[in-house]
Amino acid sequence: MTAGVRQRRAGGGSRIPALLLVPATLALGFLAVPLAGLLARTPWGSLGAELATPRVLEALRLSLVCSVGAVGVSLLLGVPLAFLLARVEFPGRNLVRALTTLSMVLPPVVGGVALLLAFGRRGLVGRWLDEAFGITLPFTTTGAILAEAFVAMPFLVISTEAGLRAMDRRYEDAAATLGAGRWTILRRVTLPLIAPSLGAGVALCWARALGEFGATITFAGNLPGVTQTMPLAVYIALETDLQAAIALSLVLLVVSLAVLVALRDRWFPTA
């Protein structure tokens, strides 16, 4: 993008009809007021005590374990999938890409039901896992990790694939002419070049996993210390202990903000 184009856009942007400011302000308020509501009702004085209860600490710990686990699964399986989508021409590639991103738009509860029917004790794959290895996934922490990975992995795949498509492949060609093998090129050239996309993908994937609720409660159930992650704890606490629910919500809000700040250069280029 040249400076000329950027200037023209900036000039055009300042000449919007004044009437647009009304709905724009409404939209801003609509998005910001709920957050203000949360902050206004936060029990600041007892916040420390609320967050230090065993139940909250357990949910925090479990959320950390599950979301990091989900990112791990996504890195292990999703990054190779991104390479496949970006670099290999094969029939039905667009269909595969659509399938990959389906769980982003699928209601998470539906995802949870689908996971049960696939990996549950009576599920397509789960039945076999149970019979052959005695492994059952519902009601386990592994199940919660899988539920989170199911909804969060597409964020990593999409981001990584975009990075791969945007990178300058001449660096790889140069490495190849200098005698580097495919693995060496991948490790020493490609991965470092797409590191920013990969990093953004990891952050988004992690944030989505951390916030995952519907698929988790449907597939993995709700048991403190085993499958009750923070969003589940917020939901359950909301029905009995509003203060604890608000405190937990605040933690999730702060984490989300932190992800935004970490990604600000990527999403909101200041230039």
Partner: protein, 260 residues
């Protein structure tokens, strides 16, 4: 320029629609006195789903098509929603403590039904569950309602009486979710109301809990003070307490309210 104008038109159209929708809401509030066009909102315990749905149909056909919408959930969730001023006209709880939680917001509650609890297992009882003692078996996947849910609280009382320690694999948010997990075959057993076993159909069956260890869950109902449809709410409550209403509840396995 043309594009931004089209966009503006679209946005204004959306805003107009939103305003129209708000206006519609006001109208229904105003006309609440006339029972013909309003809509009754009943917040009822999840275990009442089948029985109240039928009572709702009876009410609608007896009252010139007045629509009844139900919010079925765990009573603890409903009580909290009413505390947060959710638009409820009538509240039916699966226990008295959750009704007490909103006692300042409702008129005098009346008990309208009761139910005992049962162990729910998959049809054919593949794991051979004979009683509460079997639930302590660590190889058995037991699902209970969460301790804050009435059914979970009753289950804890029952297990306490029987002196059985159960480690559930999940604490579900409402009693129906317990039945679902058992009917899907993901869990082996759960403790639910007798009525949930009946409503669970041919996928599940019940294992009786002896009288000495069982508890009687009492269901109170009350109209909400803030309701704009007080007459309609009162009429629905009277239907529930009437002989016909009690007959419907009986069909779904509920017992009459305790006589105290």
């Amino acid at each position: 320029m043309l594009r931004s104008r089209t966009l503006l038109a679209a946005m204004l159209a959306v805003a107009a629609l939103a305003l129209a929708a708000c206006g519609g809401d006001d109208d229904s509030g105003r006309s609440s006195g006339a029972a013909s066009s309003g809509e009754l909102k009943v917040f009822a315990a999840a275990s009442l789903t089948a029985a109240f749905t039928e009572l709702g149909q009876q009410y609608t056909s007896a009252n010139g098509g007045t629509k009844v919408t139900f919010n079925f959930a765990g009573s603890q969730a409903l009580a909290t929603q009413i505390q947060q001023s959710a638009p409820a006209d009538l509240f039916a709880s699966a226990d008295i403590p959750n009704m007490d939680k909103v006692k300042d917001l409702v008129r005098t509650p009346q008990n309208f039904a009761s139910s005992q609890l049962q162990i729910v297992v998959e049809k054919g009882n593949p794991k051979g569950v004979m009683g509460l003692d079997d639930l302590a078996n660590p190889d058995l996947k037991v699902v209970l309602a969460a301790p804050d849910v009435p059914a979970g609280k009753y289950a804890a009382q029952i297990l306490g009486k029987a002196n059985v320690t159960v480690k559930p694999v999940s604490e579900e948010d409402n009693v129906k979710a317990v039945v679902t997990k058992v009917s899907l075959g993901e869990a082996d057993a759960g403790i639910v109301y007798v009525t949930d076993v009946t409503a669970g159909g041919d996928k599940v069956e019940g294992v009786e809990i002896p009288e000495t260890q069982n508890v009687l869950a009492t269901y109170p109902i009350a109209t909400v003070k803030a309701s704009k449809n007080a007459d309609m709410a009162q009429a629905f409550m009277e239907l529930v307490l009437s002989a016909e209403g009690q007959q419907v509840l009986k069909q779904y396995g509920f017992l009459p309210p305790p006589t105290t």
